[in-house]
């Protein structure tokens, strides 16, 4: 009997040791910073106004290249994150890049666990829900089909299975009664995906015939996939990207926006866009 209890205790203690040994390094990986616990507690309190702000937490979908994604070194990069980094450098803030689940973005923002959504975030149709910066990118929603597809125009879409990202602006455009809702009704089905990679897997395998998405991401995906797909000339909608803040948080919006405009004036903004020229970003920026 004693042997058994000893064995039991030993196994419990082994679990305990594993638990103590493992976590420490893991926290660095998941947070990407070596902040002490005290610092964390400080961010817990309401952010002080003005120059006292220490951190700037940007929420983004890390599966949205070239605006925000994980590069080959495991770092989160992208046009929007580079802009955010430059804004933080100039303001003396520490940038925290927080990849979020796109479906949970509103809860993240209103609970204060992120300061803004900066991630190819479409303004059109969301004006009443967020406080937006000035638009900085002209974007359009496009249809992507296989290169050998017989779908050539918007009219060919009738009776086809179309995919979109859940809660994306392409979906909003297809549900907008004054927009393309009538067109959407002619589709055989409208399927929602969590991320674009799954969407492209469906398109590639023939499970869907059309994918409606942002042109920036479409360009990225098509160039990474050796041009097996094409973008239709007919566009679903055109729109603009802005930085989304919690409704009413104009103070933070003004601070970020003024620094952003500074960067436009001295050419840094365009320089950052040129880093992502392969994906057509230089043509899309609308602050000059």
């Amino acid at each position: 009997m004693k042997k058994l209890i000893t064995l039991l205790m030993a196994s419990v203690m082994t679990f305990g040791l594993c638990a103590c040994g493992g976590p420490k390094e893991v926290i660095d990986i998941s947070e990407g910073s070596a902040d002490s616990f005290e610092n964390e507690l400080k961010t817990d309190e309401a952010q002080p106004a003005g120059d006292e702000r220490k951190t700037f937490i940007v929420g983004f979908d890390a599966e949205f290249p070239p605006y925000g994604y994980m590069d080959e070194n495991g770092e989160y990069v992208g046009f929007d994150l580079d802009l955010a980094q430059e804004v933080c450098n100039r303001r003396g803030w520490e940038l925290v890049k927080q990849p979020i689940d796109w479906d949970a973005k509103d809860m993240e923002l209103s609970s204060g666990s992120i300061d803004c959504i900066w991630n190819g975030f479409t303004i059109n149709g969301r004006e009443d829900s967020y406080t937006f910066s000035v638009p900085y990118v002209d974007n359009s929603q496009v249809y992507v089909v296989k290169a050998d597809s017989n779908i050539k125009t918007e009219a060919d879409l009738a009776g086809k299975v179309v995919g979109v990202q859940a809660d994306s602006s392409a979906l909003a455009a297809l549900e907008d009664e004054e927009g393309k809702a009538d067109l959407a009704k002619t589709f055989a089905d409208l399927v929602q995906f969590a991320d674009y990679n799954t969407g492209f897997m469906n398109l590639e395998s023939g499970a869907i015939e059309v994918l409606a998405m942002d042109i920036g991401v479409a360009n990225y995906e098509i160039s990474s996939r050796n041009g097996e797909f094409v973008i239709l000339d007919d566009q679903l909608a055109s729109e603009q990207y802005g930085i989304g803040f919690l409704k009413g948080n104009t103070e933070l919006k003004d601070q970020v926006e003024s620094t952003l405009l500074e960067m436009v004036a001295d050419g840094t903004f365009e320089k950052i866009a040129e880093k992502y020229a392969d994906y057509g970003l230089v043509d899309s920026i609308c602050l000059k």
Partner: protein, 216 residues
């Protein structure tokens, strides 16, 4: 992209998954035992409360429970939540969810021991507590290892749900690498990681079961 870079990125995500796994087991197993004892309590009020708790934990999606645990402090009590709380919330939600499942496994195990043993122990002068810890529990552990292994393996795979709170564990990292590479290979590799990890878990549990089998 080099395979080695992808593997090391996935491995760093795997550490997060393992951390969630170990901490959840550490908290949910003892909590599950308490819940099981409460469920079998003679007090109708206590066992009633525990029944409701188990019903809610088993009857609602774990993903919803994760969201509730993390966002409730803000939406219900108006307390600002910090980024560090993400991980804590994941551990809390997983622990209370798995404790409910473990509790029912424990209860089945405890009730499978014949009443005769309790009576015999009483005649030999054991108190109820002594009987439970020295006679009953050890046999219970031996009997419940197979269903506990089931739950444990499910837990390994459930860790991927934690991305709903933006905790980037392995599956999330695999999806992010997949998005960059425009490829499904990282997902397949992630599947291999899970398989190997679960194989190790199952192997360990089998070994433990053999060590415990000297009653028979």
């Amino acid at each position: 992209m080099q395979t080695s870079t992808m593997l090391s990125q996935l491995a760093s995500g795997m550490l997060v998954s393992i951390e969630i796994f170990v901490l959840t087991l550490l908290f949910s197993l003892p909590l599950g035992l308490l819940v099981a004892l409460g469920r079998m309590s003679k007090s109708r009020i206590l066992s009633g409360i525990i029944k409701v708790y188990i019903a809610i934990m088993r009857g609602t999606p774990l993903m919803l429970q994760l969201i509730v645990v993390y966002f409730a402090p803000y939406y219900v009590f108006g307390i600002n939540i910090s980024a560090r709380f993400r991980f804590t919330a994941v551990i809390i939600a997983f622990s209370i969810n798995y404790a409910a499942y473990f509790a029912e496994i424990f209860r089945a195990g405890i009730q499978s021991i014949s009443v005769g043993q309790w009576e015999a122990a009483q005649i030999l002068g054991y108190t109820k507590t002594q009987t439970f810890f020295k006679i009953i529990l050890v046999q219970v552990i031996q009997r419940i290892i197979p269903p506990v292994t089931n739950e444990t393996i499910t837990l390994v795979k459930d860790t991927s749900l934690s991305f709903v709170l933006s905790v980037a564990e392995m599956f999330t990292i695999a999806k992010q690498i997949g998005a960059r590479e425009a490829s499904i290979v990282p997902l397949m590799v992630a599947g291999l990681f899970y398989f190997v990890f679960n194989y190790v878990v199952a192997f360990g549990m089998e070994y433990f079961e053999k060590r415990m089998s000297y009653f028979r």
